[in-house]
Amino acid sequence: MRARVSLAVLLALLAALPAFAGSYALSVATLILYFAYTGQAWNVMMGFAGQLSLGHSLYVGVGGYAAGALFFHYGIGPWAGLWVALLLCVALGVVIGFLAFRFGISGVYFALLTIAFAEFTRIGFDHLDWLGGPGGMFLRVAQRDIWDLANFRGPPLMYYYAMLFLTAGAFALCYFLLRSRAGYYWQAIREDEEAAQALGINTFRWKMLAVAISSAMTAVSGVFFAFYYNNLFPEQIFHISRSIEIILGPVIGGVGTLFGPILGAAVLTLLSDGITEALAALGWEIPGIKQVFYGLVLLAVVMFLPNGIWPTIAKKLRL
């Protein structure tokens, strides 16, 4: 009961945020929600089905480029582009999943496989001139004042609510998934795949489902990214640093939990922004300092709170 009330309060606060937050705070909040959503998408593969993907930037990139390219070359709006992005990313995820599961690749080898695919794609896209090559693809931005939902253009407020909607939706989706047969089966597979099979679970099929859902959700992140930032570079979007950024939220917040990715994203973004601001105020604007901070937080969490921050906090707050 406490949990539901707290959740409702949080949602209300987030919905009302733009009323009392400045434009900078709003952009930070949008970023937090972006990482919360994408982290939640990754969490479906790792936290639910136990498959460690370190190449999730692949889906963000493919999703973003798919919708972006359609808009750039043919003027096709993001809503139609979204379907193409979803299709491509799910297909990719299914291929990777199929290759991995059929050939019995798991654990660190699976992680390396996902990295290899992302890197391969990164370098490949650098050589695709139709997509802009290494110089990048730039989507034209009409104006930032009017709400143009058809082309997903508008003020920062629109993007904030879009991301809030996505994050809340992801949370709801995962909540219902966890309580369904899928949730039980995924957790069983994660704990002990052999035992799961002995109970009649077609582990291959269920793992593929997790991969498909995860990659589909991440495709949406990519489309959002493309139309929010309006520029796409292979070096940037497919880079392994992006993949690591995606997992930081869930790992710090709590892999496999519902609220972990959201909490982790919030903690990470707020603290890192705070530190960057503080250091800038002191005159220390050194490239790399934010990432060192990320690394230290990750190190601390992995060493001392291996299940993430959320389980500890949830227990303290008795949620």
Partner: protein
């Protein structure tokens, strides 16, 4: 008397070593049959072939008049065969109830139905008081019971028990024996069990198959097998608990 499980000329080699050599036996429906023999005789290999973990090199496995050799483990379970593992494999991060629910969801039409069935099974195995505990906190005997409960939740018609009594005290063993006797009598569950604990085998089994070096060396009722000189010979020097 119809057969639940028929094993015909089953063979399996691992890298040249013949683990199971042309083994044939039957498990009649509603019976409890014991599969015994010294370590390395090939008992678990046979289990693993029935359960679909390995495909046999040769031979047939027929369950309920349907050929099942070569099926995947999950298909074998869906066909009606449940199994436990020699070294128990609980879903450590889940609660006891959730462990059993994973099994129950196979046949249940809803989560509610699965939950009801799981609670009933836990009660039968004296685990209902621990339903919300994490499986990782259970003692070994309780983990063994959980393993059995989970397999039972899939509504099997044949249950494969792999050394379920190992590590249990005599009183715990007797309790387990009673549970199996009750289920066999009440629901007609056919059971094939691998056991070293002779106390349990003698108490439960209606028929025994003795395996040694991958071959059947004797079969019959417990009384017959215990007196068979071939059996005594293969156990000479081995420790048995009676």
């Amino acid at each position: 008397m119809s057969s639940s499980l028929q094993i015909r000329q089953l063979s399996k080699s691992f890298r040249g070593l013949k683990a199971v050599s042309s083994v044939s036996f039957e498990v009649p429906e509603h019976h409890i049959v014991g599969l015994i023999g010294p370590n390395g005789a090939g008992k678990t290999t046979i289990f693993n072939m029935v359960a679909g973990v390995y495909a046999p090199d040769a031979g047939e496995i027929v369950f309920d008049d349907k050929s099942i050799q070569g099926l995947h483990p999950h298909q074998v379970c869906t066909a009606g065969i449940g199994r436990t593992f020699q070294i128990v494999k609980p879903f450590a991060g889940l609660s006891v109830l959730d462990n059993v629910m994973v099994g129950a969801l196979l046949r249940a039409k809803s989560s509610a139905e699965a939950r009801k069935r799981s609670q009933d099974i836990l009660a039968k195995l004296n685990l209902d008081s621990k339903a919300s505990e994490p499986a990782s906190s259970l003692t070994l005997p309780d983990r063994k019971r959980l393993e059995v409960a989970r397999a039972l939740a899939t509504r099997p018609r044949l249950l494969l028990l792999d050394e379920v009594m190992a590590g249990l005290l005599p009183t715990e063993c007797d309790q387990m024996v009673q549970v199996f006797r009750d289920i066999n009598r009440a629901e007609g569950l056919t059971i094939l069990l691998i056991e070293h604990v002779m106390r349990a085998v003698m108490a439960l089994a209606r028929g025994i198959v003795v395996l040694h070096h991958g071959e059947v060396v004797s079969r019959g009722t417990p009384e017959q097998v215990v007196r068979d000189p071939a059996v005594l010979e293969c156990y000479l020097g081995e420790e048995t608990e009676v």
